[in-house]
């Protein structure tokens, strides 16, 4: 968490420094204002001296110009630092989520993660502005103290001793706030995650007329979030009230010391006015400190959430080796046990089209996650061209091996963008050329988020076209034709071999149309491979296979 905060600040060093320096200049100017009020009263008002009044008002004008400009440019630098740091964190989070080794989404809703990438990143970024404000407020306090020391040493000392004490108390008071604020933010994030999830499932909800129940569910979450927010708000109100009271007491002390000094003639009336004015002015920077403390508390809570995502354990370890080029595309699984798999041995020759028929779909899923290396097998090894997948860099591995999940998401954009460019052969092989024909605008036609503007089968064909177009040395496709009709499926099956010629292809499916075009089919039953032969042979000789595939 500290590291996240620190990076957010140090990454914007220049702007933070510029902001702090100019902010300090601004505060120094602000200090001069009550001082000058005192001078005006002393030399102009009390003495009835008009030229002196005019002279000092001009000086006041000059101070105003200076403080105004330094604020303008200082705050701009501070805000820029805040925004840029937020942006940098957002990008860091996205990169972590997309990291080839995965793991960041584990146990987190996309809505909640999105919230972290927007709101939390922003809050941590805003710490830069807080730093700048804290520095300028501190400057204001120091300048005020110097002026006060010049007026009178005891008075200056009272302020110098009192201010840090107040700051310290303010910090102590913000501690309980931190916990409450963390809880509040967690629940707010959860509530917005629930809302996002319900909206994502809107079609399903409407299908069973569950809108009312969904609303009721959100109400409960929203109520929890409200309760937490109210707890945090009460803590914050208490903190603010205490700071107000402490500050008032502090000013009373300054007035007491200053008043006695003036009464005994050690300082002038004007100096007393300046001193009192300064003490009043000090409320400002002190409140800024209280605010900055609260801001830091929230920033820390947000930074903790960001740090947690960034430090989420990877699903798979990072190997360092690169696949040896040219990739031949042979795979070997030896004694792989993972989830439901129990010691799978399998060799896939380069360029082979292998069918995998799983009696239990869970076996298929386990196999896919080993091949795509979204997880490393509990025991046994998977090798690509003789190199264990665990030793390979996962990103480099994915450049060679593509596991196309059957629930792979499409993205908002054109059809062409979704397929990854113009790939007429892949499009035709997947039957996605017909989708383009039906879409207004053809391949440049628009596909809405998650492909929702397409029919189920159209979506699936576009996803298959994308997998084929990626043209990896090894392609593993999972049930690519479950949502298309039998005629279209037959057409896809007939073109698949040709478009994948000389490259290794694994079809994990129970569709006989697809399995029929494989060189060889292995039957996965009870976590083990129980038979291997061309489809036609298995159909005639293996009853389990027949029920798995033909029924």
């Amino acid at each position: 968490m500290r590291a996240v905060l620190w990076r957010a600040i140090s990454g914007q060093r220049r702007d933070v420094v510029v902001g702090a320096v100019l902010g300090a200049a601004h505060q120094a100017g602000e200090v001069m204002v009550p001082v000058l009020i005192g001078v005006v009263i002393d030399q102009g008002v009390a003495g009835g001296d008009l030229p002196a009044l005019a002279r000092w008002l001009v000086v006041l004008a000059v101070v105003y110009v200076a403080l105004s400009f330094s604020y303008r440019f200082g705050a701009r630098a501070g805000e820029r630092a805040a925004e840029r740091a937020g942006h940098a964190l957002r990008m860091e989070l996205v990169e972590r989520v997309l990291d080839a080794r995965g793991g960041a989404e584990e146990g987190r809703l996309p809505g909640a993660l999105t919230n972290t990438a927007t709101e939390d990143a922003k809050r941590v970024g805003a710490v830069n502005m807080s730093v700048m404000l804290a520095v300028s407020a501190l400057t204001g306090i120091v300048v005020a103290a110097v002026v006060l020391l010049n007026i009178s040493v005891p008075l200056g000392l009272v302020v110098l001793a009192g201010t840090p004490l107040l700051l310290f108390l303010g910090h102590l008071l913000s501690k309980p706030l931190e916990k409450a604020s963390e809880d509040q933010q967690d629940r707010a994030a959860h509530a917005s995650g629930v809302a996002a999830d319900l909206i994502k499932g809107l079609r399903v909800l409407k299908g069973i007329g569950a809108e009312t129940a969904a609303v009721a569910r959100y109400r409960v979450t929203s109520g929890d979030s409200l309760a937490a927010t109210l707890r945090a708000a009460r803590a914050e109100a208490l903190q603010t009230g205490l700071v107000v009271a402490l500050t008032g007491v502090f000013i009373a002390v300054v007035a007491l010391v200053g008043g006695r000094l003036a009464a005994s003639g050690e300082i002038t009336l004007g100096e007393l006015v300046s001193a009192v004015g300064l003490a009043l002015f000090l409320i400002g920077p002190l409140e800024v400190f209280a605010w900055v403390n609260a801001q830091f508390a929230m920033g820390r809570a947000s930074a903790a959430r960001i740090a947690e995502v960034l430090a989420a354990p990877h699903s798979v370890a990072a190997g360092t080796e690169q696949p040896s080029l040219p990739v031949r595309g042979s795979l070997r699984l030896s004694a792989v046990s993972h989830d439901t798999l129990k010691g799978v041995d399998l060799e896939v020759a380069p360029g082979e089209v292998l069918g995998v028929a799983a009696v239990d779909p869970a076996d298929a899923v386990s196999l896919l996650s080993c091949l795509g290396r979204t997880a490393d097998p509990a025991s046994g090894t998977v090798e690509l061209d003789g190199v264990a997948l665990a030793d390979l860099d996962p990103a480099a591995l994915r450049a060679v091996v593509l596991v196309a999940d059957h629930d792979a998401d499409l993205f908002e954009g054109t059809l062409r963008e979704n397929v990854g460019g113009a790939h007429p052969e892949a499009m035709a092989a997947a039957g996605a050329d017909e989708v383009a024909d039906e879409l207004p605008g053809g391949v440049d036609g628009h596909v809405s988020e998650r492909g929702q503007s397409l029919s189920g089968g159209q979506r699936q064909r576009v996803a298959l076209a994308r997998a084929l177009a990626a043209d990896r040395a090894v392609l593993v496709v999972h049930d690519p034709t479950t949502a298309v009709d039998a005629v279209t499926e037959a057409r896809i099956a007939s073109r698949l071999r040709d478009v994948r010629r000389d490259r290794t292809t694994i079809l994990v499916t129970t569709s006989p149309a697809l399995l029929a075009v494989a060189d060889r089919v292995v039957l996965l039953d009870g976590g083990r491979i129980t038979d291997a032969a061309p489809h036609a042979d298995l159909v005639t000789r293996n009853a389990t296979y027949r029920t798995a595939v033909l029924a």
Partner: protein, 574 residues
């Protein structure tokens, strides 16, 4: 297909809805306000007390004389602190409660929006409103509202205090008002449109993040990381740029405020000069006036700058109210009848591109009809229209009561499994849930989950297989218990092994209901009473499986493709 974002409310409507929401909490609002007035008024005793110390010194009083006003200052500080705590707590309570009701009403309306409207806008638009906009308003309520209450009161009451000192001080102080007024108007004019653009950019960023993070697995598999990172970066940069523009605007606004500040301060000092010279005021009074005016800087600046927060919160609020205010979608006007009667049905998702043409279909009570046809033929569309999820562009549909549908898109709701099921029937007992799961043959696996029915499923939770997800969907339908069931390819995602499990589950699910089953697995079609074949948005064939199979039409060719690879005793593999 162009985006058609959801509406944004006008300022007047936003205000009206807000007042509506505040009304039930009138007592709280008044109480909070009153306590804040007390707290601020007490605080205003500080300056006269300081002024009186100046006067005591000026009058040559002894040092001991100032003890009394100092003690009074301490009393003021402590009371003000206490009252401030109470006031702020009350004001936040009001703000947060109203916000909670607001977001609940928003979700309520969002859930009931016609689906096509949501899809045209992109669900990201809705999501951004319920996440980003809500949290922006929350921030404003948490920070800006109490500040606003404090500053606003401080200004009004301080000006009052100035007037009590001498009306001429108030007059002098008011010199700064025209400048502030003009500045504030200038600012609002420029900031309004900018904030609206910022909210849109925020929505776009949100949408992209959801897309990228939600599809992270796909992004990784296809090595689209760079592309997606660039997309997010672009959206995020746009948002940052717009924010910085807003910052520049605010800072120029501040510069102008400094001018106002100086003018007012100089005027008060000059007024003090002449009034002291003419004996109309003491130096202490002049001091108090100057200190009052000086102490106005902070609240005035805060209040004027809060216009800023108010503007962006207002923009966000208008986006929430825009949805809340959408007319209650007229209840689907569907004549009820003893059977499903569809006539002259037409539909287009995008203007001018019909995907259904003049469809007529009748389904008798208790009849099971399979809907088959090429991918993209319009089966899902017809199914959704019958289920009442979408509104037809043309034609009528009469139904015998509620229609429940298992959609082609599946979703597992994040949270405990039991909660997911209870969405279909909130008052279902555990026994009901088990019973429904048993009927779709899902109880066994559900009970072996790490925490049984309490296991957290859905995104971020325990991952379910495609078959399990479909079983859940069917169990939900059983719990919802509608007389008519529409199932859209409930077997598609599961592969054929899962499909057989599901086919059995579907059997039990549709028992006792009128059913329309969209099926690509033709064995499923073969088991129904009647098969309806669609092509190019039209019904092209209809009849029992056996009849159609031998008719040489479209169904016959579908069946041939299907059964050709699935030899049976009567259809051997050639």
């Amino acid at each position: 297909m162009s985006r058609e974002l959801l509406p944004v409310a006008t300022a007047a409507r936003t205000r009206a809805v807000l007042l509506d929401l505040i009304r039930p909490h009138r007592a709280l609002a008044l109480g909070g306000f009153a306590v804040m007035v007390v707290a601020t008024s007490i605080g205003l005793l500080t300056q006269p007390l300081l002024g009186s110390i100046v006067d005591l010194v000026d009058a040559g009083e002894s040092a001991a004389a100032i003890t009394a006003p100092v003690l009074a200052l301490v009393a003021v500080a402590v009371t003000q602190g206490g009252a401030m705590t109470a006031g702020l707590a009350l004001v936040s309570r009001l703000g947060e409660t109203v916000l909670a009701r607001l977001r609940e009403r928003f979700v309520d309306r969002a859930m009931r929006l016609p689906l096509e409207q949501v899809e045209r806008a992109g669900s990201g638009d809705l999501t951004a409103r319920v996440t980003g906009d809500v949290s922006l308003i929350a921030e404003a309520v948490r920070v800006a509202l109490p500040e606003m209450a404090r500053s606003g009161l401080a200004i009004v009451l301080t000006l009052g205090a100035l007037a009590i000192l001498d009306w001429r001080f108030l007059l002098a102080a008011l010199i700064s008002v025209p400048v502030q007024w003009h500045t504030a108007r200038w600012y609002v004019r420029h900031a309004g449109p900018l904030y609206a653009r910022q909210r849109v950019a925020g929505g776009a960023q949100q949408q992209q993040l959801l897309d990228t993070i939600g599809g992270a697995k796909t992004v990784r598999a296809f090595r689209l990381e760079a592309d997606h990172t660039a997309r997010v970066a672009e959206r995020s940069n746009t948002a940052v740029d717009l924010t910085m523009r807003g910052v520049n605007l605010v800072l120029r606004f501040y510069s102008r405020l400094h001018v106002a500040e100086y003018a007012g301060l100089a005027a008060v000092l000059v007024a003090g000069f002449f009034m002291v010279r003419s004996g109309a005021a003491s130096i202490g009074t002049a001091t108090a006036a100057a200190l009052y005016f000086h102490s106005l800087f902070a609240p005035v600046n805060t209040a004027l700058v809060l216009i800023d927060d108010a503007q962006s919160a207002g923009a966000a609020l208008a986006r929430l109210v825009g949805v809340i205010d959408l007319p209650e979608p007229a209840a689907l006007d569907r004549p009820s009848s003893a059977r499903i009667e569809v006539s002259g049905l037409g539909h287009s998702y995008d203007e001018g591109r019909p995907v259904l043409h003049d469809v007529d279909l009748t389904i008798d009570r208790g009849e099971r009809v399979a809907l088959v046809g090429a991918s993209g033929a319009g089966k899902t569309t017809l199914a959704k229209l019958i289920a009442g999820i979408h509104r037809p562009s043309a034609g009528t549909i009469a139904v015998p009561g509620e229609v429940g549908m298992v959609t082609q898109d599946v979703h597992v709701f994040a949270g405990p499994l039991a909660d997911d099921l209870r969405l279909a029937r909130p008052d279902a007992t555990d026994a009901d849930l088990r019973e429904a799961l048993t009927r779709v043959d899902a109880l066994t696996w559900a009970e072996t989950l790490p925490e049984g029915l309490a296991t957290v499923v859905g995104e971020g939770g325990h991952r379910l297989t495609a078959t399990q997800i479909q079983q859940l969907a069917l169990a939900r339908l059983i719990l919802a218990d509608p007389p008519v069931a529409v199932l859209d390819e409930a077997t598609a995602e599961a592969g054929s092994a899962g499909a057989r499990v599901l086919e059995k589950a579907i059997e039990t699910t549709v028992e006792g209901r009128t059913a329309l089953i969209v099926a690509h697995r033709l064995t499923q079609a073969a088991a129904t009473d009647r098969v309806v074949v669609m092509d190019g948005g039209r019904i092209v064939e209809s009849g029992p499986h056996d009849g159609l199979r031998s008719s040489g039409g479209r169904y016959a060719s579908l069946w041939e493709a299907w059964s050709g690879v699935r030899p049976t005793s009567e259809n051997p593999l050639e």
